[in-house]
């Protein structure tokens, strides 16, 4: 019966029709890929389908969530069981209770540091947690549990207590995606803290380093120099730690020096991050002066020359 079905269906016979179908689908897929690469339509599609996508993310994150809760509940159960044990195990009991409190205290300290950053800089910021979902291993993005319903918009900077993490690239109603600074298509304007030299740090092929590709060979730069954001470009506020230089060498063409830096934020470990609310004005040349020319009451018939006209 299977053989008869094979012969009646044209796809499975060795005919040109099967290859034609494949060529058609591959062409459509390649056109879609090119359109998405240039036009970024996938964000529109995901925004429209957000009601269907977000439950899948929640379901996929459930096992990790249950694991965390179970670990906490097990700690409670172990403490009660050991309290009922014999007297000789009091020291071990005290140690077990201390371990549990130590982890809670560590989380408390982390949250305190984040709050300090928020207060000391006087910035309006929002606390967010990571959703435990892996959106693609080679694209270095993370997913947060705040979205457009929490007034998060595309382009906001994301930091943790020790450094800059990245930028929001996509928002759904209750989740948003952050592109980390180690993503190859992300570049962040930095300055060397010691000398003030301004340059650009890009993500590279290695998942946990930043690359600084074009540094003048005569520049004063040493291993161990700390990088901070320079504030140019208007995305990240100035003065935030970005990373530390680990290696300096000549780049492939020999015309410039290239450096490799390690980011100072814990890009793979943070559980809580801050989303900065303000989008800063770009620091750049001042706007052109408005129309110049003779005063209006002396102008006569000619119109004043407006700036910008050829």
């Amino acid at each position: 019966m299977a053989i008869a079905r094979n012969e009646t269906s044209p796809l499975f016979a060795d005919s040109a029709l099967g290859t034609l179908k494949l060529t058609f689908y591959l062409t459509v897929a390649i056109v879609l890929m090119i359109a998405d690469h240039r036009g970024g339509y996938i964000e529109h599609v995901r925004g429209t389908l957000s009601t269907a996508i977000e439950p899948v993310y929640r379901v996929a994150a459930l096992p990790a969530q249950l694991g965390h809760d179970a670990r906490l509940a097990l700690a409670d159960r172990r403490r009660l069981a050991e309290e009922n044990a014999e007297l000789g195990r009091k020291l071990m009991l005290a140690d077990a209770a201390l371990n549990r409190y130590a982890s809670v205290e560590e989380q408390n300290q982390r949250l305190q540091r984040l709050l300090d950053v928020q207060h000391s800089l006087g910035l309006s910021a929002q606390l967010a947690r990571l959703v435990e979902v892996d959106p693609g291993p080679f694209h270095r993005r993370i997913v947060l549990n705040v979205g457009s319903n929490d007034r998060v918009t595309v382009g906001q900077a994301v930091i943790d207590a020790t450094g800059v993490m990245g930028q929001i690239v996509e928002t759904l109603p209750h989740t948003s995606t952050v592109m980390l600074i180690t993503n190859p298509s992300q570049a962040i304007p930095v300055a060397i803290e010691r000398t003030g030299l301004r340059t650009i740090a890009k993500g590279g092929s290695n998942a946990d380093t930043l690359e600084l590709p074009t540094i003048p060979i005569s520049a004063d730069i040493k291993i161990g120099d700390r990088l901070i954001t320079s504030g140019l470009g208007g995305v990240y506020p100035a003065g935030f730690p970005v990373g530390e230089i680990r290696a300096i060498s000549n780049d492939a063409s020999g015309l410039f020096a290239a450096a490799v830096a390690a980011p100072s934020a814990s890009l793979d470990r943070s559980g809580e991050v801050l989303v900065l609310h303000q989008i800063y004005d770009a620091i750049g040349p001042p706007d052109l002066a408005p129309a110049f020319g003779p005063p209006a009451n002396l102008a006569g018939d000619a119109e004043p020359i407006k700036a910008g006209k050829p």
Binding site: N6, R46, A61, F138
Partner: protein, 163 residues
């Protein structure tokens, strides 16, 4: 009617589970070992129930995978179509291979898929991926016998249950 509905539940349920598994987080050291679950399940259903699976369905499944996973729109669709075309073309032979030979065939298909993905990344201008990029086909080929036996067992149970 009951029988075909139960089979439909198994078919669509296994496909939906693929997407959830693809999104599942893993410790960072284990992340490169995550196999392409969608390809494995589509290979299984192409071998066992080809009347349900056609190139069009594979294209749509790949698109859904793209939308969920946040990659270039159309990338998984193209990969799945290429993979599925090869499987459907050689289905008559693949179906009766012994299990170890099938695993090697699955390894070859997944390696081909990785090469295709590398090509797409190169055209998109991304840098070369690290060497751990090539680990996923190996775990996929290792997972294939278990997946095959599991789904076969479930299908056999449904058949005897109705019989």
């Amino acid at each position: 009617m009951n029988r075909s509905r139960a089979h439909s539940v198994l078919f669509w349920g296994s496909l939906v589970l693929c997407y959830v598994l693809q999104l599942m987080p893993l410790p960072p050291t284990l992340l490169p070992f995550k196999p392409f679950w969608l390809a494995l399940v589509v290979i299984y259903w192409s071998l066992e129930a080809p009347e349900r699976v056609g190139l069009g369905l594979m294209f749509v499944l790949g698109l859904i995978g793209d939308v969920l996973g946040g990659e270039l729109l159309g990338e998984q669709a193209a990969r799945l179509c290429v993979l599925g075309f090869i499987v459907l073309r050689f289905r008559a032979r693949l179906r009766f291979f012994p299990m170890w030979q099938q695993s090697i065939a699955v390894l070859a298909l997944l390696l081909n898929d990785r090469i295709f993905l590398l090509m797409i990344h190169a055209f998109a201008g991304d840098p070369l991926p690290p060497p751990t990029f090539w680990l996923a086909p190996v775990t996929g080929a290792l997972a294939w016998p278990w997946l095959f036996l599991l789904l076969d067992d479930l299908r056999a149970r449904l058949r005897t249950h109705d019989a």
